[in-house]
Symmetry: C2
Subunit: 108 residues, 2 copies
């Protein structure tokens, strides 16, 4: 399992477009078999700051994610909305056990 | 629901002690009714860098967490192991829906 944190800084005028495009991408990404989580959150004290927490089942899954039509659509839709390059940090899970990181599929 | 990301830099000689103390704290914290997630992960490219992703059910839950014996034990155990002050960023969930952030209780 591979955990990726992506910090995003968005131009103020792009916040709503970014939000909508990223929710759409997250929803589709959670349907990929290699995706365990695809969490999207907005900083409380700065509406232009977001984080994506992407959790992949194995090391091959991020490359497969980047081959999907929803990723290409998202990448192109948000390219002009970035206030700074996205930063990316990769982690390994220490706790809890990998099986407990799974996002329930569908709507609860 | 409140999401808190805590970035931690540990002295090289403190990594294993920090790891063990934090796993113990995460396990106990996941038993708190106000805790939705308590994820602990280590950076792949820097063994002294860790992240905690704490997800609380409501705004009162972080204060209740800090009143627990396991939090006090952890805070004291790791105080001398920090290489830098911990940084904290608070987020609101954009996706998925809050019910899908829940960590399964017990061992799967």
């Amino acid at each position: 399992m591979l955990i990726v944190h992506i910090d995003v800084r968005v131009k103020p005028e792009g916040v709503e477009t970014f939000r909508r495009a990223t929710i759409e991408n997250a929803r589709a990404s959670l349907e990929e078999p290699g995706v365990v989580r695809f969490d999207f959150a907005q900083a409380l004290d700065d509406r232009t700051r977001f984080v994506l927490v992407e959790v992949y089942r194995d090391e091959a899954a991020p490359a497969r994610h980047k081959e999907t039509p929803h990723y290409a659509k998202w990448r192109d839709a948000v390219a002009e909305l970035m206030a700074a390059p996205r930063t990316r940090v990769e982690y390994r899970a220490e706790y809890p056990e990998p099986a407990r990181w799974e996002t329930p599929r569908g709507t609860l």
